[in-house]
Symmetry: C2
Subunit: 331 residues, 2 copies
């Protein structure tokens, strides 16, 4: 393995100088920079990220915390996207990304969790798919021991940023689109929401309610708990008399659509997320597509910003509305 010392020798400088060049410190002359870079090229030197992480108290590593157990197929696709995005951005920044899963923290106290993370030289965490019931993690974030980036939770402070789409606005947009494109009557809308311990649920419901005010349609809000089954049952019960069904997640939209198909009625259904499975669920469905991989990338960049000492903030990422068709997911 070629080390920083080899490079130093080759370039005829001290190891500290090489390190400064690598990390773009200001106090190195153009001349030496060139010489060092040349040596780096020639030797195909790549700095050892483990050594770097150990020695520098500043940089450290980033953990991506996800919970793919939660919602089965949908979540495994979504979580994978988050992770891929973060790993990709991490690689570009020469920064180690380690994936961790919520289940690992089950039964731990916050202190234990902190120690576990510290013991891996983790300085910053990205938390995806958190709801208010994960006490250990919310507390962990609130203690601000690490630099935190939370996806889809409204937490912001000196050491904590949050990132995500504007769920209320997106819900309004997709619902408006679904309604206006619907040929039949659209004055009765059934909204099947996600679990109520979730921030995104609150926001999406708020969006739907605001739109109902603005457009003057009748809105029935029910709690589908992010469950496909529950959404199916609700739809079997209430779906027939509605004109449009909007759901707080794609999985529930699929459940609703299955129910409608069984009942032989064909109302438009809209979901939320843009998971691939939607393509398999039937025609006449629309959804809000979130770019989870991009969110993962941005989250990682935000970790870097926070680690460099800047304060937390809120980041809104774009989304798009889409009509889902089987042909588009077919490979």
């Amino acid at each position: 393995m070629v080390t920083i010392r080899d490079v130093a020798k080759r370039a005829g400088v001290a190891v500290s100088t090489v390190s400064k060049v690598i990390n773009k410190y200001p106090s190195v002359s153009e001349d030496t920079i060139a010489r060092v870079n040349e040596a780096i090229e020639e030797l195909h030197f790549i700095p050892n990220s483990v050594a770097a992480s150990l020695s520098s108290k500043q940089s450290g590593r980033v953990a991506v915390l996800t919970d793919p157990d939660g919602q089965t197929l949908a979540s495994s696709e979504i979580m994978m996207q988050y992770i891929m995005g973060a790993v990709k951005a991490g690689n570009e920044a020469r920064l180690d990304v380690v994936p961790l899963f919520f289940s690992m923290f089950a039964g731990m106290t916050v202190e234990e969790a902190e120690h576990r993370l510290e013991a891996q030289n983790i300085r910053s965490i990205i938390v995806c798919g958190l709801d208010r019931d994960m006490k250990v993690l919310t507390e962990l974030i609130e203690r601000e021991k690490f630099k935190n980036v939370v996806v889809d939770m409204p937490m912001e402070s000196e050491n904590t940023s949050n990132i995500g789409v504007d769920h209320a606005q997106a819900q309004k947009d997709i619902l408006r689109k679904t309604i206006t494109e619907n040929m039949g009557p659209s004055d009765k809308v059934l909204y099947i929401s996600g679990r109520t311990n979730s921030y995104v649920t609150e926001e999406r419901v708020r969006g739907a309610m605001e739109l109902s005010q603005e457009m003057g349609f009748e809105l029935t809000v029910t709690n589908g708990e992010f469950s496909e089954k529950k959404a199916r049952e609700i739809t079997l019960q209430l779906g027939r008399n509605m004109d449009v069904i909007a759901c707080g997640s794609d999985l529930m939209a699929i459940g609703a659509m299955k129910a409608l198909t069984d009942m032989n009625v064909f109302h438009p259904v809209c979901g939320f997320d843009g998971i691939t499975l939607m393509g398999y669920a039937g025609k006449n469905m629309t959804t809000v597509r979130q770019d989870f991989s991009y969110i993962g990338e941005e989250a990682l960049r935000e970790c870097i910003r926070l680690m460099s000492g800047e304060p937390g903030k809120t980041i809104r990422v774009p989304y798009s509305l889409m009509q889902v068709r089987y042909e588009d997911v077919l490979n």
Copy 2:
């Protein structure tokens, strides 16, 4: 952060002694072991894995290489399972697991790839979803610089183990089951295979052909290239005159089933893998369920074995046959 020095001081021993206790070296007396462990408990000490990895040339870290881009939804579920299994087993063994993706190695020479891995203190890699076209990776494995565990590729040597189910046998089993449970005639079977650059394809086809000999049914083998679309087209063309359709992957089975539904014929279809999506695809489907998470775990344990100097071997993991129903995947 509490370090090994704190523990040493507390227990009144040298740091090296603490290290020996942690790593279960033989030459420490029961007495000291007890004293050190007590100190560890009291201080809630967790060894820093980064420092350990840097210092020890033996242990090091394990990379899990996957390619979730390949087959969209199916692969993202499968790859996630591999990763989760490996991370879980890695945590238990106090060993860092880092996920990497095939795409990162695109355009790299083997040497570059090696340097990249070395620079992360990676001593062992688990490769999932590899086919013969990924030249860089196959060469990387063959150079034996790392300890390799390959999933579903018949590579075995001093430093390389492979792991996976017995694809030929599994294919025979599921096909036999599908045929014998089918009430109608079963003397014409259509087999839609995966891409031919893949070992699992070869094995599965071999299994199907052997069974056709044994049971004496007529077998038509076509190349579906792991593509749902292709399988659909093939089925539209040849499906009507068949009695049973067997596919080399679940995704293709879904494509085939969609085609049959469109044609209004109802032959039994069997797939391979056991992905959740199968539940959404229709009735009358069976498949081979692989436990990907378990495979990930076992693969990691095998890395540890290899790193401890033992030679590579072949590991067969169990599988099960299942009838897929929507109710089972519904959450």
